[in-house]
Structures are given as structure tokens and as C-alpha cells.
Amino acid sequence: GGGRAGPGLSAVCLCCRERVRAMFYHAYEHYLESAFPYDELRPLTCDGQDTWGSFSLTLIDALDTLLILGNVSEFQRVVNVLQEGVDFDIDVNASVFETNIRVVGGLLSAHLLSRKAGVEVEAGWPCSGPLLRMAEEAARKLLPAFQTPTGMPYGTVNLLHGVNPGETPVTCTAGIGTFIVEFATLSHLTGDPVFEDVARKALKALWKNRSDIGLVGNHIDVITAKWVAQDAGIGAGVDSYFEYLVKGAILLQDKELMSMFLDYNKAIKNYTKFDDWYLWVQMYKGTVSMPVFQSLEAYWPGLQSLIGDVDNAMRTFLNYYTVWKQFGGLPEFYNIPQGYTVDKREGYPLRPELIESAMYLYRATRDPTLLELGRDAVESIEKISKVDCGFATIKDLRDHRLDNRMESFFLAETIKYLYLLFDPDNFIHNDGSDFDVVVTPYGECVLNAGGYIFNTEAHPIDPAALHCCRKRKEEHWEVEDLMREFYSLKKTKKFTLKRPSDPGEGESAKDPEDTEKAGEKRSPKKSSHSVLSCPSQSFNSKLAVLGQVFLDNT
């Protein structure tokens, strides 16, 4: 059944949006009161604990959510608190992956949004600023992890001493391929190419080590490049690698990254997709190893909608939504044939992925079903996990027992995506009708024109900012020359489009064997259209709402 008969959608939106806002403040204020300066709030015991380091993680993570909710004054206060209080010169073993997506990503997005939030920025902004310096400092602490023979990073690094002697060389795929968004942004803003270089090198190493059937496994030895866990799928351990190939391609207009993703996508469809579910298979043989759906996989429909595969995205989303309806949340693992949770994996730590996909899909389809999921999520989280001190992780979805944790992504992602789902006029959804013009010492920039790329911890990055600081003077003079041409009657005809010898930003020429291989596979398709584009929607997509799906859209 469905509650479609209810009142107007805009009323539902508004009501739910305000409930989400209240949820945010319930959690946020209790964090400040009981847990700050620890990383996370423990909602059952009303105290704090350090989990991923000691950086007041929840505060960093929640910072841009404050702005999305429109709370400018608190944003400004927190920026000051962070500048004074956070120190990365600490003897702590930190996860390279988590530190990057939560700390570096959080600081970068806060830096880029700070002008919008009314923070008085310095003259070089967005190419300099205190938050950017903090992000850079944090990222530099991670660089030692990338010094391996393969270029793939270790999973853990000591912030003071670098990689610990005897550190395990086994890293999960996502822990290797989830840097390009933050690191390329850092390189473009600061002008130091080292970050983007190490991120690209790691991505290429993974691409090189894919199996013959085009899949990657779950864990790899970064010294020997041998796959340690050979399960291939789209969920835990791999997820954000695929996500960053797409988002990196969009952010950097990079055809090479996109071609990699499209090849993976083909293999994933061939081997792991069954009835709009995605299973786990052996990476060399393609045989099914685990017929499970993981909560973390629910980002996939959102990613598909970004590249225009809206029909498939919606079909998969509707599958995942049935699991939510069964439990009031998504279990970490869901056995598809049995239709039930998997032993020891029954928890739901208030993850954002399904809501994230709903937000992307709602942009594309405006389907009220997606708002329904949002409403269900608000009801479930409030009814099940709200406690006096915040919102508690659901330890077991079968009986809704609660655990003493509130992960920082609850405020960074879950709440943010929920709010954005119900707030279609938020500045984040800007379609380019609004923009800011900023004069920097490097020239004039158009910023905040929409198209924000969310990193995997839901920290938005303005793609325009990447073209602001990096703007080379040659390009500027070239544009100047061209403009002169516009105002003269006698065309010199010297300006014609020349085919760039090196497409994209990447140094694809450096690895001839690999590009050749990739090029061979794609050659028939490549000629027809650019990989950096979406297909336009088919006729029947007009009617593909309220659960209706259509077959063979050709």
C-alpha cells in the first residue's frame, strides 16, 4: 500500500523538513554539551569518546550541515573553535581513509562555504585560508602512507611518526581509491600537485590490478599487489572507489576516470546484477560468493542517476526500499534469497546511503515515492533510535536494541541528505541560476554556481572553485586574444579548434599498454559519444513514477 492520498507534497516536505531540523539540534546540542571535544557522542551514557583520532570529529563533520540548515552564526562560531582547538600533531594511529573523507573533506567544504556563511575571508580566498591550511596539514600527515612500491597507501598511519613499523600492508579497495575528490581539490586550491598525483597513482594501480573479467576484489596487499580478499561487489570495502571514479570524472572533466568506471560498470552488470540486486562474486571467476545486499551498497542508485542511468537506478532503489519497509532500517547484510538479516550483521548505525540515493533520484524524477522513503526514515529514526542524549545506533534491527554510539556521519550525512531531500530550494540544489563573483589576486572567479560534488562523507565541493585558483595565466591571455577577435571585423581565421593531443588532465600517455587495452575495448562506442555525458531520458520515463518501472528502454 501507499499513503499517496495524503495532503499536498509541499506540506509533507515542509513538515518533515522541520522535523529533520529538530533532529539535528537534538543530536548536535547534546554532543556539544556532553561529548565535545571528544570525537563522538555516546548517547546512552551521555558522554564522549575518541574513535577515529582525536579531532572533535563530530564537530568537523557537522560543520557544513549547519550551513545547509541555514545556521550561519553557529557555523562562524565553530570555525573559530576549530582553528584554536584542533591539533594534528598528535601521537595517534589514524585511518588514512576515514581521516581523509571526514577531516580533510569536512575542512575543505567548510573552507569553500565559509564565504557564503558570512565568515570574513582573507584576500586570497578560496586559494588560501585557515581552514584550507588545516585541511592541507591533515592531508600531509597522510602522505607517508602512500610511499609504497605500488603507490597504493597503507590503511593506517601515525599522525606524528608516519607509518608504524610492522604495519599491515593489507588495505581495502575503497581505502586506496577514495582520495581523488579531496586530494585533487587540495592540489587545485593550494597549487601543490603532490596530493592529486598520489591519488591518481593509487587509482591507476587498482585499475592495473583488476581481474581478467574486469572486477576488483575487496582487500589487496599494497606491497606485493596480491588480492587478499577476492570478493567483488559494489558494497563494503569497494563502494567509494567506484563513487570517486565517477565524481572525480565530473569534478575534473576527466575522460580517463570515466572510461575506467564505464568498464567496471559493464563487468558489474554482467557478473553481479540479478533482478536489479547486486550480489558478491569471485573476482576472477565471476561466480556468486554471497547473495547478500549490504546497507553500504545503497549509494549505487544515486551514483547511477548522476550519470543518467535513472531507470536502472529507480528499479534498484525500489528493491532496497522493500528491505527498509521490512525492518525500519537497512541491516548491514541482508540475505536476498532468505529475505532476512545475516547473523552478526543485523545492525543499522543510522547510515545515510539509501537516503542519499533518494535525494539524487528525487532531483531526477520528482517521484513522491522518494519523499515517502524520507518520511519513513524520519519516523523510524525518531521512533526507534531517539534517546535523551541524542540518536543511538541500532544494534539489532530484529528487536531494535540500541548501541551506545552515534557515528559522526549521522550529522554529516544522514541528516544532511534528509534535509536536502525535503528542501528542494536549498542553495545546494542551485541549478546555475544563482552564482557569486569573487575577485581574487589570481583573477575573477565565478563560484557557487551549483553542481556541488559531495564527497563520500557528504561534504560538498564546488567544482567551480577548482578552476579558480588553478586558472593559468596562459588561459587568461588566450581568452583575451579571442575576445579581441570578437571585436574586429577582419577575421584572422587563426583560431580554430585543434584536437588536443592529450585529452583530459591525466597523463594517459605514460602508460601506453594500459590505455591501449582500455581503448580497444571501447573503441566502437567511443566514436559515437563522449564518455562525459548522460543519455537523455526515454519517453516512458514520464510515467516511471509511483513504483512503475519499464523494461527494455531502447
Binding site: 584576500a123 543518467g308 521490512q326 524520519v378 551506545n404 554556481a449 583530459g504 537523455s536
Partner: protein
């Protein structure tokens, strides 16, 4: 152990789920078993005829939304129906332990012992109430002729049972029939098949039911059927199945349930579909608009001109239904008049499948069953059809189908063939060929071989048409009535090659589909009709200025059916595109496309985009920069969101983003930005420069000079803007410089401060060193003292040892003295008393010395302890 236990527990604190609380308010007419007491719910069921179970989960948004609706229904029906809500989530509850639901809420209905009947319809109070009422009275009692007529004239299929109640309290088979009605609600949760019961013999005779226990399925377009009791077992399941399989679907309600479903996909794949959106209240007594629409549907499907299907209604003589006695004047029907198969009792219309699509003819056959020999015991005058016979006839017919394909003539040819199943009957098949051109009076003067203009090209043809002079279809095309007046809708579905399937949608629930198809959002009347042709990827919309009534609908269908259809593809556009001149990027919609792109006197760069496409959104800033850079008098940078704005085929693209340039004065020669180039400012400028239409070779006239001066003027203003920009850049640089300066001076100050701090620290270091030396000295001294003390102690210990030795010697001395004294006593007894005295004197000093020694040892002990404690404090 206890301590360790509590420690480890403090590490992972968990909390069980909150105890369930009531879900419905205490005043609610719904009984709320929020602890999931399923057993109690079962008990409650014994007392009530009809029970509704509402299984919910307290956290579930759908359950919460449905709660109000259920309460509303309960408040209206609580005197007749028991409403029980059961929390089927709480894991201590009976319900959770016994039931395993994949979604919530689940609504189950029981009619006495029959059930559960699951309600799967929309979660809206009116629909639920309607369904509950159907469960309460699954059989409609038909007491009179007029009621029978009402019952049968409804567009939804009706099943009538005839039972004589005078013989026994309950005639045989009645219970089965009753159960089958309930059973059908299980299968057909929308409740499209209605069940009625007749008890009056005379009323039953109207539909030629003579025997108590007969079951009759009414059909409008084809012959009605009687349940074949002698062939199929008379069970509730079978009756229900039979009715579902043989019912007519002239017009169908579409009610998507909200979950993932292929409903629309499957229905639209069947061919072009007419979707009619009307607001529908299931509880309303009358539905005038619906009646009107179904009348059109009935006419449209009425291929069998024999009227055989409607005799009973005809001679009931009710004036209510003019559709049934509509006189037919169509030329086609004159032609079909010789085909009077009224003499055949039992007929079905069959449209033969087409062999090839170019065929302009259509084979329509009337298939009738002839019962030659009066062998059958119950001979009836009025058509009385056994569905099995028709079925068998169809089977036989299709086996011989090939013989009919050759028939291409304007006359009707009939052939008889024997049934494979029964020796007593044969079938008559009368087929005629209907020329499709015949349908269209427009084509009367054209030859049959003329190739029709391709009105709708597909995506792929875009390349060819790109440079042709564009035309944009007029979306508000009004079709004059004379266009179609000569054609009749009756039986059109069989005469056209563009047969429509008809569907109804409740606009209270599914208006979103209408909006998607272009229903105007301003209208408050939620009525809308559209023809969707999925194969051709087009749809047509009934002019929304006309009200949705029978005649307009008929015209709409007719206009679609003719060969050169006057209908135009409908282009959906953005609902409320705010047209703002001062925007940097000009937003184009379906409406403004022509005006902005073609009519304007400027060069136009047009970006096709979609908001959801990541590759488009990240280019926004480049286009904004471009628009700010280009001289606004000569250039427009525009964009169109193609998800929300349909365009004529020739302007559609299949990839996004696509960039087209329409040069001024040569708008028809649009060029596409090559896809293998990266989209950036210099590339776009080069592209525009390359294709913009300023010819340089012309000799310079006055006009040209004027042009040049204008251009120069533009250049000057551009340069001025540049200078302004540079100025602000310089000021920004100054600011940055100041900032750096400030930072530098601060850094210097910091350095100085640090230097000072260093000095003070060094000083402190020195004093500390001194201090530490002093401490070392004291330490040595103390150590020395300690050693001395130890030596003294050693001396004392030695002294005490000497004393001990002395003591021992003294003891020995005393013992020997005593021995001597004793021996002397034995010899000199009489001297005893004196001796004892002297002995006393002797002993006392020795004990005194012993005591003294003890004291000494004590003393040493205390010294030793004092010493050690002193050591500790030191």
C-alpha cells in the same frame, strides 16, 4: 570477578527497545493490541461477523499514515465491523512470533470464518471503506427488474446467481456462490467483478435463468455466459476463476500499488492506450462522468452488430441507456447488414492478427456456435451461451485460421465447420475484409498505394532534419468537428488498425501521471485524457480547454483512429518557467524555444542540460563566465532543461550535455560543439568564432564602417570592463599584500617573542642546573650520613652480641654454682635453711642482669625501626 564483569559491561552499553505503547488513542473505535496479542485478536473474531485486522509496526511511516484513514473508516462502520489493530513488530508479542510480514501495514478482513482477505488497494479511507462494505455484503440482492438492469448496465463485469429460497432455508449451492463472491475479493482486490443474487423466478427469467443454482456472467460486447456446472466442478474457486477469465475488460481501472511494478509497462506494451483521469469517489452512489465514459467505451468496443449480447436489456425497455439502441448509419454498417447473424445464438467477434503491417485490410470474423440438433435438454430462446462452447469454437477456429487469411474482398463470406469437441454443433464463421482506408474520408480521393507522410520520425533521424527549416508543432491544435463527423465510434475498435486500450485512473490518487503527460497545473478540475503510444514514443492530449465529456472523448478517439490523424504530438513543458530578462543564462522552454532561438537577431549558443546529470551541472560556471564575456548585443547564451521541456523531434538530442550554436542569419545551419573536445572557455570561444557569421571578404562600405565603429565601441566597453576587473584584481592583490605584510610582521614579532622566551628559558635552565647540583650535594651528604648510621648500628649490634655472650657465660656459671650447691646440700642436710637464704641472695643479681639485657635488645629494636622509617622519609 564481579569487578571485571562490571568493567567490561561499561564498555559496551546497550539498551533494549522501548516497550510498546498504544498506537491508537484511547477514544478510538479501533481496538489497539499494542503488545501484539494475536491470540486475543483471534478470540475477538468469534464474536463478530466481519472483522478487520490492521497489522502495524509502530515505527513504520506507512502505518502511521494509514492510521488516520483506518480510524476514519472505523468511525463510520464500527457498529457493524470490528476493527482490531495489532502491533506485529514487538518481538515479545504473539503476532511477531507467528507472522512474518515483509511490509507494514497489512490489512486482513474476515467474514465469519472466511479469510483472511488481504486488502491491497490504496491506503485511503474511501477505498478501504468501500472494500470493507464489499466484504460485509459480497452479494448484492437483486429484487426487481430495474435493479437487475442497474446491475447489468454497470461497466464492471457482473456475475448473477439465481437461487430459489422457498424450498429450504438455504438452497443448494448458495453458500458456494456466496463464498465465491468472497473469494473473488481475495484475487481481485480492486473489486471489479460484482456479484448479485436473484431469488425471484420472474426476474431470473429476464436473463433466461431457469434453474435455481445457475450462475450467469454478464458481458456487454460479447455474449454473456452461464457457468458450465456439468463440466467444471461447482466450487467457489472455480466460479471465481471462471468469472475472472471470461470477464470483459472494456475499460480498466489502473491502480498502481506504489511498490515496484510493471503494470503500466505491461499495459502500454499492448498498444496505444487512452488514459482517462477523473476524480473518483468509490462510495458515491452515482458517477455520471464515469457512466458517460463507459458508454463511449462500450460503443467503441461494440463490434458485434447482432446486438445479441444485449437483448435482455433491450426488451426490458428501460430508457436509461441510449447507447444500446443507437441507430447506426455508417456506410460500413450498411455493408455489414447482410451479415445478420442474429439467428445464431452465441457469437464472438474475432479480429484476425495481421500478417504484415503494410496490409491495409483488416479481417474481422463473427464466430457463432450453432446447435443444430435439439439434443440439449434445456433449450432456451434467448441466447444462452456456454462459455466452454465458445472457447472450443475459438480453438477450432484458430486451427483453421489460415483459410481466412486469403479472404480479401468486400463481401462477407461465411463458412461452417464442425466442432472438434461436440458432434452436435458446428460453428459458423463469417468474415469480411475491412479496408482501413475506408475509415478515413480524407483518403477517399487518394490511392491506396500512396505512402503516408511520416509524421513522426525517430531520434535517429535527427541528423537529417537538423538543417531543414524547422517547424514546431502547434500543441493547442483545435480539431474542427466536421473532420470526423461522418465517422461513427460504434465498433471502431475492430475497424481500425490503431486500436486503443482504454484505462481509467483516479485523479485523486494518480494525478501525477496526468501532470507528467502535460496536464495543466492551473486547473482545479482534475480531469484529463491522453493517448499514449509507447512504441512510437508519442502522446496526444485531449484539448484541455474542452471539458471531458462523452462527445469530446469520442472525437478524440476518432481523430486518433483516422489514417492521417490531425492530432499533434504533445510537448510537455516546464510548469512555471520564470522568464527573466536579466538572467545571465537565458532559460529556454518548449514555449519560448522558437522565439529565443530562431526569432532573435542574435547568435545563440544553446546548452541542452538536465539538472540531475552530473556532467552538466559542473559546467554551469563556464557558461556563466562565457555569457558574461560575450557582447550581449550580439550573443545569447541559452540553455534548456530537456527533462522538463519536450522539443520537436528534429531538435532532440540523445546525450547531455549537448551544445548547439545557431549563427545569426543562418539559424537553420546550427552546429554542434564536437564532443571529443573538453568544454572550457577558450574552446567555446574558438568554436563560436569559427562559426559566427561575420563575413570579412566584403568590400568596406559605409555600412561596414558603421559596423566596425559599433564593434570598436563594443571592444572599448569590453576593455573598460577588463580594466575595471584588473583594477579590482590589483586591489585584491594589494589586500593580499597587506595581509601578507601583516602576517609577516606578526611573524617577526612572534620570532622576537620566541627569542626572548629562549633567553628566559636558558636562564631558567641554568638556575635549574644549579639547583640540581645542590640537590646532588645534599643527596651525597645524606648518603654519607646514612652510611655512618649503618656503621653505628653495626657497632651496636656487635655490642649486643658481646652482651649476649656474657649472659650465656653467666648462666653457665650460675648453673655450675647451683650444681655445686645441690651436691653440697645432699651431704649437709641440716644446713639447709641457711643455705636457702644465701641462695636467694645469689640468684637475684643474675635475674637482674638478664632483665637488663632484654631491655637493651628492645632498645636496639626501636632504634632499628626508627632508622628505617627515617630512611623512608628521607
Amino acid at each position: 570477578i564481579l569487578l571485571i564483569f562490571s568493567c567490561s559491561r561499561a564498555k559496551d552499553v546497550t539498551m533494549p527497545a522501548k516497550l510498546p505503547v498504544s498506537f491508537f488513542s484511547a477514544r478510538s473505535p479501533v481496538i489497539d493490541l499494542f503488545r501484539g496479542q494475536l491470540d486475543y485478536a483471534e478470540q475477538l473474531r468469534q464474536d463478530s461477523e466481519v472483522v478487520l485486522y490492521f497489522f502495524y509496526a509502530p515505527w513504520c511511516g506507512q502505518s502511521i499514515a494509514a492510521r488516520e484513514e483506518i480510524e476514519h473508516v472505523a468511525s463510520r462502520l464500527s457498529d457493524q465491523v470490528l476493527f482490531v489493530a495489532i502491533n506485529c513488530w514487538w518481538n515479545q508479542g504473539k503476532c511477531r512470533k507467528q507472522k512474518h510480514f515483509f511490509y507494514f501495514p497489512v490489512i486482513h478482513l474476515y467474514h465469519r470464518s472466511f479469510g483472511p482477505i488481504e486488502y491491497k488497494g490504496p491506503m485511503s479511507a474511501v477505498y478501504i471503506e468501500k472494500f470493507v462494505r464489499r466484504v460485509m455484503t459480497p452479494l448484492l440482492y437483486i429484487s426487481s427488474r430495474s435493479k437487475l438492469l442497474d446491475f447489468l448496465s454497470n461497466y464492471e463485469p457482473g456475475v448473477v446467481g439465481y437461487f430459489e429460497f422457498n424450498a429450504s432455508p438455504q438452497p443448494p449451492g448458495y453458500l458456494t456462490f456466496f463464498t465465491s463472491a468472497l473469494h473473488s475479493l481475495k484475487k481481485d482486490y480492486l473489486g471489479t467483478i460484482r456479484f448479485g443474487v436473484i431469488t425471484d423466478k420472474r426476474v431470473a427469467q429476464e436473463i433466461s435463468l431457469e434453474h435455481s443454482g445457475s450462475v450467469y456472467l454478464h458481458r456487454h460486447a460479447n455474449t454473456s455466459l452461464i457457468y458450465p456446472k456439468d463440466i467444471m466442478n461447482y466450487t467457489a474457486e472455480n466460479i471465481c476463476k471462471w468469472a475472472l477469465e471470461n470477464r470483459e475488460m472494456l475499460i480498466r481501472w489502473l491502480r498502481p500499488h506504489g511498490g515496484k511494478s510493471l503494470l503500466l509497462n505491461n499495459e502500454l506494451k499492448k498498444g496505444p492506450a487512452l488514459l482517462i483521469f477523473i476524480p473518483y469517489d468509490p462510495l458515491a452512489e452515482i458517477h455520471p462522468l464515469l457512466d458517460e465514459i463507459t458508454k463511449v467505451a462500450l460503443e467503441y468496443h461494440k463490434c458485434n452488430k447482432s446486438q445479441a449480447a444485449e437483448p435482455d436489456l433491450q426488451h426490458l425497455g428501460d430508457t436509461d441507456s441510449p447507447a444500446f439502441d443507437s441507430s447506426v448509419t455508417d456506410a460500413h454498417l450498411k455493408l455489414s447488414e447482410p451479415l445478420s447473424i442474429t439467428k445464431y445464438p452465441c457469437c464472438n467477434t474475432v479480429v484476425l492478427p495481421q500478417w504484415h503491417s503494410i496490409s491495409r485490410t483488416h479481417n474481422v470474423c463473427e464466430l457463432c456456435v450453432n446447435q443444430t440438433l435439439g439434443v440439449k435438454p434445456n433449450k432456451v430462446h434467448v441466447p444462452h451461451c456456454n462459455f466452454l462452447e465458445i472457447e472450443a469454437a475459438l480453438d477450432s477456429f484458430y486451427l483453421q485460421e489460415h483459410t481466412f487469411f486469403q479472404v480479401i474482398s468486400n463481401t462477407i463470406e461465411c463458412s461452417n465447420f464442425l466442432s472438434f469437441y461436440s458432434p452436435f454443433s458446428y460453428y459458423t464463421a463469417c468474415c469480411r475484409t475491412v479496408n482501413r482506408h475506408f475509415l478515413s474520408f480524407l483518403s477517399s480521393e487518394k490511392t491506396i498505394f500512396q505512402t503516408p507522410k511520416v509524421a513522426f520520425s525517430s531520434h535517429g533521424k535527427k541528423g537529417n532534419t537538423q538543417f531543414s527549416i524547422p517547424h514546431i508543432e502547434d500543441r493547442n491544435c483545435f480539431i474542427p468537428d466536421f473532420n470526423v463527423s461522418s465517422m461513427n465510434i460504434t465498433g471502431l475498435s475492430c475497424r481500425t488498425n490503431k486500436t486503443l486500450n482504454l484505462y481509467l485512473l483516479d485523479s485523486n490518487l494518480f494525478w501525477i501521471y496526468a501532470e507528467r503527460l502535460g496536464a495543466s497545473r492551473s486547473t482545479h478540475l482534475k480531469e484529463f485524457a491522453a493517448i499514449v503510444d509507447m512504441k512510437e514514443e508519442v502522446h496526444y492530449v485531449l484539448d484541455q480547454n474542452q471539458s471531458l465529456v462523452g462527445p469530446t472523448l469520442e472525437n478524440f478517439i476518432k481523430n486518433f483512429s483516422v489514417l492521417y490523424s490531425p492530432l499533434k504530438r504533445h510537448l510537455v513543458d516546464e510548469p512555471s518557467a520564470p522568464f527573466q530578462e536579466q538572467r545571465v543564462l537565458t532559460e529556454v522552454t518548449t514555449h519560448t524555444f522558437r522565439e529565443i532561438v530562431f526569432s532573435s537577431e542574435k547568435n545563440v549558443l544553446l546548452l541542452y542540460y538536465a539538472q540531475w546529470c552530473g556532467f552538466c551541472a559542473s559546467l554551469n560556471h563556464i557558461f556563466i563566465q562565457l555569457a558574461r564575456l560575450l557582447p550581449p548585443d550580439n550573443f545569447t547564451v541559452a540553455r534548456i532543461d530537456v527533462t522538463r521541456n519536450d522539443l520537436p523531434w528534429e531538435f532532440m538530442t540523445d546525450r547531455l550535455p549537448t551544445i548547439l550554436f545557431f549563427p545569426h542569419q543562418r539559424k537553420e545551419q546550427s552546429v554542434k560543439f564536437p564532443e571529443d573536445f573538453s568544454v572550457n572557455l577558450p574552446n567555446l570561444l574558438k568554436f563560436i568564432l569559427h562559426h559566427s557569421s561575420l563575413s570579412a571578404s566584403e568590400p568596406c562600405t559605409k555600412e561596414c564602417q558603421h559596423k566596425e565603429s559599433v564593434l570598436q565601441q563594443g571592444h572599448i566597453s569590453h576593455l573598460e570592463r577588463e580594466i575595471h576587473k584588473l583594477r579590482s584584481e590589483i586591489s585584491a592583490l594589494h589586500q593580499a599584500h597587506d595581509q601578507l605584510e601583516a602576517q609577516l610582521s606578526e611573524a617577526r614579532r612572534d620570532e622576537q617573542r620566541l627569542q626572548q622566551q629562549k633567553h628566559t628559558l636558558e636562564k631558567q635552565h641554568k638556575t635549574l642546573q644549579l639547583h640540581s647540583e645542590q640537590l646532588q650535594a645534599t643527596y651525597d651528604q645524606k648518603n654519607q650520613e646514612l652510611l655512618e648510621m649503618a656503621e653505628k648500628l653495626q657497632e651496636l649490634a656487635d655490642a649486643s652480641e658481646n652482651l649476649l655472650k656474657e649472659n650465656a657465660l653467666l648462666r653457665i656459671l650460675v648453673a655450675s654454682r647451683e650444681g655445686k650447691l645441690q651436691s653440697r646440700d645432699e651431704i649437709k642436710e641440716p644446713l639447709q635453711s641457711e643455705q636457702t637464704l644465701s641462695e636467694d641472695n645469689d640468684v637475684s643479681p643474675s635475674t637482674a642482669t638478664a632483665r637488663l639485657e632484654e631491655k637493651k635488645i628492645d632498645n636496639i629494636d626501636t632504634i632499628e625501626t626508627e632508622h628505617s622509617s627515617g630512611n623512608r622519609t628521607e
